[in-house]
Structure formats: C-alpha cells, structure tokens
Symmetry: C2
Subunit: 646 residues, 2 copies
C-alpha cells in the first residue's frame, strides 16, 4: 500500500517454483500416516478466523508489509528477513503487487514468487496484493488461479494506479477495487480471504471523505473480510475513521497501517506518492535533524510507539499493520517496545512448517533435511498427501529432483567470497576439509582467522541442540567422520524444554540418538566390522554416490527417531529415518559437495579435485541407536572403529 | 477328513454372522491412522507363504482339525477350546464340512459359522473344508463367496461321500475333488489357498495305489497348494507315500495327518469309516486294555509321539496335522512332549488380533473393549478400514448395534446357575453389588463360598496386569467405585516384559494409567469437584445411560494410552481412549447390566430392580492420567473424592 518507488525487474535467472518434481499423486495403501496432531489451530484456521480468535482472546497482534526486491540477491536477503522477522510472530505478512515488475511471473523478484516463498518456504501466513486496473479479466483470473495453486489463501484487492494521467472508466473493465472483490467472489467463491484498503483521510481521488466511506462499505459488502488502512500520523485520525465506518454499518476488522518514520527522504517520497499531509508538529521536529538518520529513526520509533499505544489503549484496535519498507530495525524496535514481538521458543513440531494449505496435515518428515527444510519443501511440493504414501514399504519415492541449486530460496545466504574465506581459498588435502568441518562444529576461527558459520548442508550456525554433542562431534570430525546431521537421545523431557521441546505443553518428548556423516571407504570397512557387535541395537544405512547401499534394516520401513506424548492426544512422531527417502537425500547431499563447494574453485584446480575426490569416493552414513533410554552408544561405535583402524 | 459320525443339526437359535452393523464404509480425511506396524509376518502372509517360511527356517509346526459341534452349548465350548489350543501356536486350524448339518448356513453349529468364528473372533488361520459331490455349481459358488466374504482364505477341497450306496458320475457335475479345485481356481483365481487330501495307503475306492497317486497329482496340477494326508499308523507308510509323490513330480508340501488314539470306541468307529486296517501290533496292545480309557489314551499318546519323532527326524516333515476329535488332552500332550506346543507369552499387539484379511492392517483399538475383544470385532465387522476414519474429529461412529447378546461367541461361557452363584441368588441392595465386584477383584469367595471368576464385562478372571493394581481396586470397589477396566502407567518397560510387554523384542512399551468404573451420581458430583484440581493432568469422560456426557477433553481426538517404541520402526499406539467410540461402548456397557445380570432374576424381583436402578442411575466414568512418568494420580483422585464426601 505504501507506494514505494517502482522499479523495473532486471531479467535475472528465472526461477521455476512449481515444477521440478518427477511424479505426482499416487497413493498407497501402505501409507505410513501417523496420528492427526492438530497441534496448533494456526495451521488449520483461515486468516479471518485467526483474527477473530485473537480478538476474542484479547491477544494483540501485528502484521508486516514488504515489497518485492529488485534483484535476485536482494530476494535472498528478503527471505532471510522473512525468517528473522517471522520469529517475532506476525499474524501475517503481505507482499505488494508491482505492475511494472511483471508481478505474476515466475521471476524470482516477482510479487507472486516472493509471496509463494513466504508461504511455502518460510511458513508465513501471507497476503498477496493484487491490482486490477488496466488488466483483462483473463489476466486477473490467471493470476488468482496461480496464487491458489501456489498455496496462497489471501488477496489484498486494490485498484492500482491507472497508467495515464487522466483516468477513464472502462465499460465492463476493472475500474475499482470493488470490481476485483466481486470478481474473486464470483470466480473463487469463498476460497480466498479478501482484504481491502481503507483511507482514514479519504482517498485522495474521492469526491469527499463521506463518499469514500461509502465506497469502502461497497467493497466490504461485495465480500471483503477485513480492511487495512493507509498510513496516518495521528491516532485520532484512525479512531475517528473507525467510528465513522462503524456508524455506516462496516463491522469487519479494520487494521491501522503504521508507518514508523525511518528517514527524511523516504518520508518525503512517501508523502508525495500517497498525497498525504505531514502534520506541522512532525515537520517541526524532523526538519532540523534531516541529515541525522539515527536521530530521525529514533524519533520515528518514539512517535510510532506512542501512537500505537494510544490505538491499543482505545480498546478498538486488536492488531497493527506495519509498513516495513523492507527494513527490520525500526519496526522490530517498535514491536519490542510495545511488547507484542513474541519470540516463542516453543515449536509446534521439531521442524519448520510450511503454510501451504495442503501441508496443513503434514506431521512427519525424514530427518535428513533437518537443516534444509526449504529444500525438502521444494522437493515435495508436488505431493498431494504428506508423507504421500511414499514411506513404509514403497520403493518408489517421488521426491523432485534438486537441480535448481541456484533458486534464491535454496542457495546460501553467503556470497562466494565469504564462502571461500570460510571453507578455504585453497585446499591442500582431505585434512583441510576435515578442518573446515571441525571449525564449523567448534565455532573457532580457521587458520586464516575466519569463523565457519555455515556449511553446504547447513546454512546456519550449529543448532543449540547439536551443541549438546559438540565435544564428541569435534573429536570425530578431526579424524574424518564428517558430520552433517545429528541429534542426542532424549528419554522423556518436558515438551516445554527450551532446547529439545516442541508441541503443546504438558507433554513429553523423546528422541533416538542419530548421527549422519560422510567418511572414507577405509573407515566404512572398519565401521561395518564394529557394527556387527551392535547388530540388534544400531540401525545403519551406508551409501556412496553411485548408490551402493549397505544396511541392516530388515525392510523398507521408517524408523521413528523423534516423537512426543501429549495430554489427550495420539502419539506424534514428526521425524523418521526413512530408508527410501534416504536415497533421494543421498543425491542431494553428494551434489552439495560439487554445487556449493567444488564450484567455488577453478576447474582442474587441486582444491576442486580434492572435493571431487571426496564426492566420488566417500560414503554417506547414518546411524540410529534404538536404545533411547540408555546412554547413546554411537560414540562408542565410532571409537571402536578408530581403535580397529589403529 | 476323519469321518466322525455325522449328525443332524438341531434347529437351535440361528446366529447371524454378517449382519447387525448399522453402517458401512465411508472414509474420512481426518482418519487417525497411526504407523504401519508390520509386527509379525503372520498377519500379512498367506498360509502357503507361512508354510514355506517355516520350512525355510527349519521351524517345525503343527495344525489342528475340528468338526462342528451339535449344539449351541457345544459351540460355546468349542470356541473356548479354540482360544486355549490357539495359545499353543498352531499354524492353522481346519473345520470339517458336514453336508447333513447344513454346513454353509448361518446356524451357530454350521461348518461355515464355526470357521468364521475361528478366523474372526479367535484370530486363527483357518481352513474350511468343502465337499462337492451331489451339489450344484451355484451352491458351491455361493458357499465359496460367503466364505470369502467372512474372511476365510483357505479351502480344503474334497469330494465327500456320495449320497447313495452305488455312486455314479454326473456329466458336468462335481464328481471328484479335482473338479472343485478347478472350479475354485476358475471362479476365484488365486484368492484361496487350496488344500487337498492325500491317502498314504491309496483311497479305498481307487483302482490302485498308483492310480490314486495320479489322481493326487491331477489335484495338485489343477491348483492345489498343499496336501494333508489321511491318518496312518506307521511313519514308514507316510514316508514311502511322500517319496512316491515326489517321484511322480508332486513338489508341494505334504502334511502327515496324525491321529492320537484316544479311546477304543472312537478308534473302531474311525477305522470302519475310513476303511483303514489297524496294524496287528496295535490291536495286540489295545484289546487287553479296551475298558481302561486312561491306559488307551496314554498308549495313544506314546504311539503318536514316537511316530511323530520318526517323521520329524526323517528331515522330510516340517509340520504335523492333528485329528483332535474336538478333544484337547491327548493332542496337547503329544505336542508338548514333541516340544512344538509353544505358549508364547509375547503378543504382537496388546489385544487379541483377528485373522480376517481386511483386519491385517488393524493396529489401534479403543481401550474400552479390552476385555471384550470378540464384541469389538463383531461391532466393527462392517468396517473396511481400521480404525475406519471414525476416530479423530469424526462425530459419527459406525459401531454396529450389539443386540445379539445371545450369539454363541459373545455370550458368557458360564451357565445361568453358575452366574447366580457368583453374582448372588438374591441381592439385598447396592452394597451386595459392590461385594460382587470386590470378590471378583480379590479372588476371595463370596459370602456363600463361591469365587467370582467372571463379570458381565469380563468373561475371564482378572488379567495379570490388573493384578498389579489389586489392592487399590479392592479398596475402591468396596466403596462403590465399580471398576470394569484399568491399566497401570508404564514408563518404558522392555517389550519382552512377561506382564505388560508386547511387540517385537528390543523395544520399549509405555502406558498411561487408566481407570474405568460405574458409580453413583453422588460420587460423580464429588469427583467432578476434585477433578478441577487435576484439570491439566487427568482427562475424563463421564456419561450416564441417557447419554449425558461430561468431559474435559478439548475436542473429539483420541488419547493414546498404550504405545511402543521398537528398533527400526515407527511408533505403534495400539490402544486409545476415543471419545467418539466411548459413546458406543457406553451403550454396550450399560446394556450388560441388564442382559447379563438383571435378566438372571425374575421380573419385578427386588434383585432385578436393584440392577435396574444401578443401570438407570449410575454413571460410567473413565479417567486417564496423562503424566505417565510420574506416580499414577488416579488413586489420589478417588481418595480425594471420598474425603470430600465424608
């Protein structure tokens, strides 16, 4: 809604968001659906229901507005920002529509794809804006169909800015937002939640404030579910507007749009575009400090906090909508000071959920993608059922191929130069690779003084839970057991445990110890001898890049390695070691050596050849200690292996 | 195959085996299927595969032949015998076909219904015999279709005895067993496993031993999967026969039919019917002791054991088929002495499984029917899916009505006089009912000196597991908390635990404490006050006969109360407290007061009115303590309740 400067989209690599998977939606009688954990109503309710529930419970909320970025790199950054700001608990985010930026296309910077990423890969309830003027019905319908297909459930229906200076109504065309609202309801029935814009001072082009209120009422009566307002500078502006709306019979939620002033220029530009008047008292403060960005931002935060407090204290406002201008600091600061930024360490499930409606019932995933949830979601986007009957005794996993490593939501947040500093400008042998793994585990700088904060298999620093295993992990990585995934055994900790807890309170969570690593064939040979001693206790799967697969699992059944017991519920087992999907993960895990690491170096360079050698010759191993109530025996297995080798 | 005396079936109450359920096979997206526990291959393999697997593993096995009883009471006894002899681990049982006894009918003594009961209610792999002579194709097809519908998967295809003395071939009719084998394969493809009869001495009506072997080969080549032989008296008879079969290309399993001599008269009769010659050395032993039943049985056991040893030692025999004549002692003795009677205390699941092929995937049941598994199977026989999508958020349970309390496999094993001795010839008040419950729990005789070994809700003495709670149960029953179902909490005992263990070895089993009882409205009022203190910990459902239902369960989700964690598998949660099916159980639990207890007394008698009063006014209560790792708090709940009342 804030009309930030329009930009043209540079024709960067096009990202395909809804293809890449090999097969479809067969279902199997042997499907291994577990229980039905309705863990949080948030996964099942539509946005308007969530709003109503928050209003009923008196729980204040906020939402965040973003615009699509100009470049692919900016898109990568925006997605990271979604993850970070998502942690504060917005009820939803919304993504603006840029007619000039090919907004419905598959470009990685399009409104459609950014919204798709937010909902599917960041798990955020998302509203996609859509404008209708100067567009055909077919165009609009096409956009809406695509949005629905991608899992978007909410549309902000706007008129948009007419192309020319002098705007003329088109007969049978989309002339007003209300036309779009009607069209959505006609064509898509009740599928979408629809939001419309309200103007606390009246729309600049409206005949009068009263006339504009009547237009708003038309939009609501045509089927809109709630209203978000244009920004304003005084609480009383909004409160009067709200009362006026109610007076003419508008009863749906009206959410005030909050604009924390973040800089002199952005304010000026905004005011120009939105044709709003900045009150004199604000101008008086800002003009003298217009070159001091920090001072203006502090003032903006102060102003926003006091206005928001006034709104909330009125008792008429339950949620606040923030125009972030894609920036984090000011909005986060306001939210924290208001006490509605809620970093809730509790997780509904141990992995990052997606907000696509068809993934609502998803309650179990293979452990392999624990650090790459976006890749997992990408590779299973064609599934109609989760886990899609693929597990159990099925031998035909339908994971999509992962060839699109360049996709902005899958690639590393760090640029090439950063990665080279972390992983080595020049490798001298397998040992220098061991060192990189070890530094990632310990958090110590490498020999060039750079901390290793990510790996091809983990784009983030070590998880708190993995920290529990740090000492042992360090020891084994030094010796060439290159760990990429692990979890400790847990024998019934409270579900509220800050590190390993998940799910509703009052429950108990459990885990089997898990260890996954790459290692040489020499170590594998010794390991296999050692594993004979642990035959009944440890399940293993060992595979190389060619797919040679060694396992003691009796059949192709999944092994549950994380589960929870909750009051009044069925058992929930959200993580499994699934032998079938392990072979799909194997392809991805091996490819990451090449795609993310080897390709940092020149072809034929010694560094590249070292990584290529590891890729071609190492094995990917996973081990599960089934005896979760006893002390984890996997470290003993590794110790025994090294002892055998010496 | 043993031609025991034919009998006509007295027209007793007809039992309907495939009706009585109210509704069908809708399925729900919210189905609460849990994991896929392929706990034992036995539940998934067909009989011929089980045979092959046992042969490959060198694991010797046995099977048991029974004939249909004459009377309804004898049927009740036979079903108990199935349960007892089933405990020894037969690979299958078979039920003979009695053309004169209306064998395909719905009578409770028909071959069809006895076989149906064995497979569905006793969980036994079962072969139904079927004879074909003097029957039309349509009759035969009708019988086979019915057998299939009832879940029978194996047919013993026989000719049967012609009606007249002089037998003539019918053109286009069924003249030989081979015609029936061909018909089954033509009409039912590979659905049934087919067994045929072999005659170690040649069929008495065959032209020659060699001609009979050729007939046998024809039957096998027409599609029979294995052969069971007529009885014989010397191991060498069978071994020669087996070699001769192999010599002409019969390669399927051939199972020797063993007849432990159990009495002088039964032997004579059998010999007459089967036209076999008893060897002189046996006659020499038997004639002198012909009036001493025990001596003959001992000799018969001795003889059978030594012949079976010889057969097994030959290395050619993997399984032994016993003609039991519906008696237990001799056969059980032979099996125990051979060491192949295997009472395996390990259970694949904590409840008694059914062998109907469509129940193969059944892996979860409501706890309510724990002591009435046959009733549960009966009431869910129309389900196509288990748990049939009824659980979870569904509010329309499709349990069949249980109006047929008289059905022989549902009614008490004890006759009316026995029940009156146990439950009181005359009740003097609610307290005398409390006393019956208390005596059942303690195992002490009642005031008339009779032990109470069953109750309307439990047809067997107290389970070993319930014994763990005996002291507390006694205390509360004395005071009018009339318990009918309970389990202690278990926090990870080995799956091999002799009392609470189930499932494959190497696993851990868990339980939430559970208590279910009838009690007065006065106690319920106090209980509800007490339960407020336990709101987060204890889930309860309290309902009276009219269906007034009080619960603190937030929605209609099942609460898992028994689950197991096993090496290399998903979590298994075989028992749940399901709020929806509780309402179906409620009807049955209240009805049992009247059907099994009140109706023992004259109408309008004081005793009957006491039971009727309880039925009309008491509540059925179930309590789950969700905090399974802590000490069971349910006893404290009850104590607090009594304290509040005082």
């Amino acid at each position: 809604m804030v009309n930030e400067t329009q930009h043209t989209c540079s024709a960067s690599s096009s990202s395909k968001s809804d293809c890449g998977s090999s097969s479809g939606s067969e279902s199997s009688k042997d499907s291994s659906r577990c229980s039905t954990p309705v863990l949080d109503a948030d996964r099942h309710e539509r946005l308007r229901e969530k709003m109503r529930r928050r209003q009923d419970s008196g729980d204040k909320w906020f939402s965040l507005e973003f615009f699509p970025p100009r470049t692919a790199n900016a898109a990568v950054n925006l997605i990271s920002r979604f993850d970070r700001m998502g942690a504060g608990g917005p009820l939803f985010i919304d993504v603006t529509w840029h007619p000039a930026g090919d907004p419905g296309s598959d470009k990685e910077t399009s409104s459609m794809i950014i919204a798709n990423t937010a909902v599917n890969y960041c798990g955020l309830e998302t509203i996609l804006h859509m404008t209708c003027c100067n567009q055909t019905k077919d165009d609009i319908t096409g956009h809406l169909q695509k949005a629905k297909r991608l899992g978007l459930k909410n549309i902000m229906a706007l008129r948009g800015d007419p192309a020319g200076e002098e705007w003329e109504e088109e007969v049978d065309g989309f002339n007003y937002a209300v036309d779009l609202v009607k069209h959505i309801r006609n064509e898509f029935d009740d599928y979408f939640d629809i939001c419309v814009a309200g103007y606390p001072k009246g729309h600049p082009e409206a005949e009068s404030y009263e006339a504009d209120l009547r237009h708003l009422k038309e939009k609501v009566f045509a089927g809109a579910d709630f209203i978000i307002t244009q920004l304003f500078f005084r609480a009383e502006t909004f409160l009067r507007f709200m009362k006026d709306c109610q007076a003419i019979g508008i009863t749906c939620p009206i959410i005030p749009g909050i604009f924390p002033i973040q800089g002199y220029h952005s304010l000026r530009q905004l005011v120009k575009l939105s044709k709003l008047e900045v009150p004199q008292e604000i101008k008086d403060v800002i003009e003298p400090i217009k070159d001091n960005d920090a001072a203006i931002r502090n003032y903006g935060v102060e102003l926003a906090v006091s206005m928001c407090r006034e709104l909330l204290d009125s008792g008429m406002v339950h949620g606040l909508h923030f125009y972030t201008l894609n920036r984090e600091v000011a909005t986060t600061e306001v939210l924290k000071r208001l006490g509605i930024w809620k970093e809730d360490p509790r997780r509904p499930l141990p992995w990052a959920v997606s907000a696509h409606p068809k993934r609502r019932v998803e309650d179990v995933r293979p452990i392999f993608w624990a650090s790459r949830p976006k890749s997992y979601i990408y590779r299973t986007q064609e599934w109609d059922d989760f886990p899609n009957g693929r597990w159990g005794n099925s031998s035909s996993p339908a994971f999509g191929e992962l060839k699109d490593y360049y996709l902005f939501y899958l690639k590393s947040k760090s640029p090439r130069e950063e990665l080279l500093k972390m992983w080595g400008e020049e490798l001298t042998g397998e040992e220098s690779v061991f060192e990189v793994f070890t530094c990632y585990i310990t958090g110590e700088p490498n020999k060039n003084g750079h901390k290793v904060t990510c790996m091809p298999w983990n784009d983030d620093p070590l998880a708190t839970e993995t920290n529990l295993l740090k000492e042992q992990l360090e020891k084994v990585n030094r010796r060439g057991i290159l760990t990429i995934n692990s979890q400790p055994n847990i024998n019934g900790k409270p579900s509220t445990d800050p590190i390993v807890g998940w799910g509703p309170s009052g429950g108990y969570v459990f885990q089997k110890a898990y260890l996954e690593f790459f290692t040489s064939s020499e170590i594998v040979t010794a390991l296999l001898k050692v594993l004979k001693k642990y035959e009944l206790r440890v399940n293993y799967h060992i595979v190389n890049v060619k797919g040679q697969n060694i396992t003691n699992a009796p059949d192709l059944q999944p092994n549950a390695v994380t589960w929870g017991i909750f009051p009044g519920r069925e058992i929930i087992q959200p993580t499994v070691v699934d032998p079938v999907s392990f072979l799909s993960w194997k392809d991805e895990a091996f490819a990451l050596w090449i795609e993310q690491w080897a390709k940092l170096y020149e072809e034929e360079s010694p560094s590249r050849m070292i990584i290529q050698y590891i890729h071609d010759n190492y094995y990917l191993v996973n081990l599960v200690d089934n005896d979760f109530p006893l002390e984890n025996c996997l470290w003993q297995v590794v110790d025994d292996t090294f002892e055998l080798l010496n």
